[in-house]
Structure formats: structure tokens, C-alpha cells
Symmetry: C2
Subunit: 158 residues, 2 copies
């Protein structure tokens, strides 16, 4: 039985096993205290009460952002901790307007957060900027006129 | 005015600028078609209608997972595309029981997905396994008896 037939064409069991959900993204950081301070002070995010000495959770809308020491995360994920260059992912915050993008970036800049790309109109029809966290993880702050949000403020694509 | 006073101690403007939300995580992948097929076939996830030739969006509960070519993502984020070793992040799916973790991993294994860590009880009191996507991004599938979910099925920490 091939994957297509197992996956819904015949059995209609799309998503029977691992539902279409991503609950947590964990950043394995080089300096735990620096990163927690960055997210809690520069972004103003409030750690969840379930945070502890070496893991901090931030409820970030419909997903949880966790901060954990890089060596420990690698060990948990059975990986060598070494790594260099582009990490191959970006995180994004979707603002409600171009003006909100400008305000966020101006605020971060005033707090000496490293702005990687100034707010600008981009080829896909939106308005986008980037900043970097202490591990050089790239955060996009953008306004996408084609996206909609649900009642909880999460992106709702269709 | 220091960050603490700007951020709520005096002005109570916690989160005034960039709200506590993460809307999209974008994976910059080495082979776009392979990755899209992995997520849509092996995991059984359905791409959003707004996907196009070089970007695929998956509504993944309260967050969106996007797949985009690595070179293009690096260019967008003003980074050099090269990188090697541990990417420094993990993604997690939270199951509702240990049995669900077992089922998901057994299903993925039967589809030749690379299982990095077999389901097992772990030190923090939960039950956890890992698999890898085609770029070796690590996905944890776990059951955490201390976590709760909201009505929409997203983690709700407090």
C-alpha cells in the first residue's frame, strides 16, 4: 500500500497519526540568561510560571517558544551540539499594519537590538523587517495584506 | 529610562510594541520538493491554498509552518546561506498520551522516516521521542502530563 492510499485517497485518514500541529519551538541558546533576558526585557515577553532554572517557556499566541541551553537541547535531540553559519530557519511576527512594523523596529532599535533589515516594501507585496536575537536567530516583523487572523490573533490561512 | 521602567514597572506597557506572539516558523530547506513531499505525505499535512511554487504554508494549529528554499530564506534574512552542524532548534508535537506517541512514531517508522530517539520515559517526567525531517531538523513527539491544551488544541501554559 503506497503512502498516497494510506494517507487519505482511499482511507480518508488524513492526519490520523500526527495531527497538523506544531506546539513548541525550542531555541538551543549559547547563553541561557542572556537569551531569557532578551526575550523578557527587550521584547517584554512574560515567562510562563512553569519555567525553571534551565528552561523558560513563553506562551507566544498559539505556540510556545522555549529557551533551553544549546548543549542540553542537542543532547536531548541526540545531536552533536556544534554548528555554525545560518541555522536554516526564521521566526516571524505578523503585525496588523506597516505602521506597526515601523513602531516595533523603532522600539527594538532604541533598545540596541540588532536590526538586520530596515522595514521596507518587499517583492511579495508586503512590508518586512528583520532583527536578530542573541544567537543571531532571525526574526521577521512583517505586514502581509493577504493574511487573516482568527479571534485569538493567530494567523488563519484558510 | 531603563528597560525595566519602560517595560511595565512604571508604565504598565508590557507588550505594547511586539506582542507575545510567534506567527510563522519558516524552514529554509535544501530541496524544496523533497521537504514539501515529506510534510504532506509522511506527516499527512495539507498545504494551505496560499502556497505557491517556491513557498508552502502549513497551518499547524496556532502557528504556521512554512517551507522555503534555504538560499532564498537566507537572502531574505540578509544572511549567508552556508551553515553546518546542529541548527540549534527543535520543533515539538505534544501528544495526548504515551500511546499516541508510540502510534505516531510507529507510523513514521513504517514510512521510513528516520527515528532519532525511540519513545521513552524522560527525566522531566514525560515521554518523548524524536524524528528528523529531510534537512535533519529535529522534531520531538512527546507526552507531557503537566501541560494543558485550550479548546483549539494549542498548548496553554497558564
Amino acid at each position: 500500500m503506497d503512502a498516497a492510499s494510506r494517507r487519505g485517497i482511499i482511507h480518508l485518514n488524513f492526519g490520523e497519526y500526527m495531527k497538523q500541529k506544531l506546539n513548541i519551538i525550542t531555541l538551543g541558546v549559547r547563553d541561557f540568561k542572556t537569551s531569557v533576558e532578551f526575550y523578557s526585557t527587550k521584547l517584554g515577553w512574560k515567562p510562563a510560571a512553569s519555567s525553571s532554572d534551565d528552561i523558560t517557556f513563553f506562551q507566544a499566541g498559539g505556540v510556545v517558544l522555549a529557551i533551553y541551553p544549546r548543549e542540553k537541547l542537542a543532547e536531548d535531540a541526540v545531536a552533536e551540539p556544534d554548528g555554525s553559519g545560518f541555522a536554516g530557519f526564521t521566526l516571524a511576527f505578523n503585525a496588523r499594519s506597516e505602521a506597526e512594523v515601523d513602531e516595533i523596529i523603532a522600539d527594538l532599535k532604541s533598545q540596541d537590538v540588532r536590526i538586520i533589515k530596515q522595514p521596507q516594501k518587499v517583492f511579495w507585496g508586503g512590508y518586512s523587517a528583520y532583527f536578530a536575537d542573541p544567537d543571531d536567530n532571525r526574526w521577521e516583523v512583517s505586514y502581509n495584506p493577504f493574511f487573516e487572523f482568527d479571534e485569538a490573533g493567530n494567523l488563519k490561512l484558510e
